[in-house]
Symmetry: C2
Subunit: 301 residues, 2 copies
């Protein structure tokens, strides 16, 4: 079963209390695709400029990711610069955003990408997400991520696309903003009322929660003494979650619980180093090895 992800591919410049990096590979769909590729076949659909680095494309290819859906445009690749402060690693302070080639991007998916059964609409304008959703006529399970910017400036478009999505994945702040709740559990259940079957809320160091009308599942994060760079943790989480669902071909709630576990463990690798440094060589075996340790840490006798 293959996954198609559509979202940003970027150059990120990141500063955290543990150091800084300039113009490394970033973007929501990059993290998602690398994480998901440990579990399933992934089609990465996006756009890059003529300044993009060939070795990043090689990395995707080495991981078996189909990059035939990456459009090459004259102009510059989307670039983001941000920082995290000690004690508040769960939210980045954006310093600069250069939309560049992403500005006018509105992809027409190739048949082999549009026909994937598992779709991830990575963070982007909800009207664009809606257009992509419409093209994926064979989809069995569609996940969508968004951010504060779209919740605040394109709420109607967001509500519109959510009706055609199975699972919304948000972080804590986004969920509270979207629902205007103070209680994250209440927010999770209210989000289901938007026409969603599943709501997956990420709490950074505090773990995650999965809501359906009749079921609930929660796990703590994998314990890390040092988080070097939280960038991409959420997209890695989403990638491993959808990757495991595609791998298992099982959309039962029990299967989703296992997917949350793999998502938790995969995201823990992402944040241990800057950018994609710690996940570029990840394998299912390495993830499984940490998952075995993790199970012991969270299993009630």
């Amino acid at each position: 079963m293959s996954i198609t992800v559509v979202g940003s591919i970027a150059f990120d410049s990141i500063e955290t209390p543990h150091g800084k990096v300039e113009r490394v590979l970033g973007g929501s769909s990059s993290y998602f695709a690398i994480a998901a590729s440990n579990f399933a076949d992934v089609n990465l659909v996006g756009i890059v400029g003529d300044d993009f680095d060939q070795r990043h494309l090689e990395l995707f290819k080495e991981r078996g990711i189909d990059i035939s859906g990456i459009e090459h445009s004259s102009g510059k690749t989307f670039a983001w610069s941000g920082a995290y402060e000690a004690g508040s690693l769960d939210s980045a302070i954006t310093r600069e955003v250069h939309i560049n080639v992403l500005g006018e991007y509105s992809p027409k998916l190739a048949e082999k990408h549009a026909s994937a059964e598992y779709i991830f609409l990575a963070n982007g304008h909800p009207a664009l997400q809606k257009s992509i959703r419409g093209q994926c006529t064979k989809a069995k399970f569609v996940m969508l991520d968004t951010m504060n910017l779209w919740i605040e400036t394109a709420r109607d478009d967001l509500m519109n696309v959510l009706k055609d999505v199975d699972c919304l994945v948000l972080n804590e702040g986004e969920a509270l903003l979207l629902t205007e709740h103070h209680n994250l559990v209440a927010a999770g259940y209210e989000l289901l009322e938007l026409g969603l079957e599943y709501v997956l809320l990420k709490k950074g160091q505090h773990g995650s929660m999965l809501f359906t009308k009749n079921d609930f599942f929660a796990l703590p994060s994998y314990p890390l003494r040092v988080v070097k760079d939280p960038t991409g943790a959420g997209d890695s989480f989403g990638g491993a979650f959808l990757g495991q669902l595609a791998r298992s071909k099982d959309l039962s709630f029990e299967s989703m619980k296992l997917a949350v576990m793999y998502a938790t463990v995969t995201a823990s690798f992402t944040v241990e180093e800057f950018g994609v440094d710690n996940i570029r060589d990840l394998s299912f075996e390495i993830i499984e090895s940490r998952a075995t340790k993790y199970r012991k840490m969270v299993t009630i006798p």
Copy 2:
């Protein structure tokens, strides 16, 4: 196996976004004792003034709590007044504290209380905690709770008593303050270096973590759409944790995992109503029933 808890018995006045109450039964040892009494025999040692309400003593007695260690003094009972704001229910804003009869309190424990095998030194001045610890010569497992005030004003005394304690229980903010860390996992491991065998960190709505040198365990909180009053959640958590250890007579790490589970579930009852309203009639059967539901919510297939 019996538990002796020494700590405050109080009148609490509490305001939260869900309402307010005046001069209800409160105090760290009240919550602890009520929670622990679902699991084991509890001796409650503390002091009250001549304004204390007989019906609160009756409540303790009805729950099988030994109150022969409660000293009755002329003067007024310790009184606390505080508020919680929407969105930050994990920390109270103290409005008033009237130390009253607690000011000069320095108990000499009766033999039957001093000889308990499980001891909880509830939040109080660390020098007083040290004196009580010294009296408990038969102790198998001693837990200590503290607060920001003592970390900031009596750090040396605190460090001194911690050497004679098995398990320190702290909330997130206290752990970060005591260690000057930003990362709570790093803080947990560093606290072990103070001579403790176990460190139990509470994160309110985000669950808890138990650290030893060689083991780690974490659980999320029980999901609640409404938290009416967080007061006493931490002491109820501690009470159920130590109560379950005493009930099982098993200090293995596997036993502690189960105790964290019961602590999590018991604390979830406390915060559903103001003060002790929702735990005054609690039973092991009611806790076990919610625990069965909770296990399904956090168990990886």
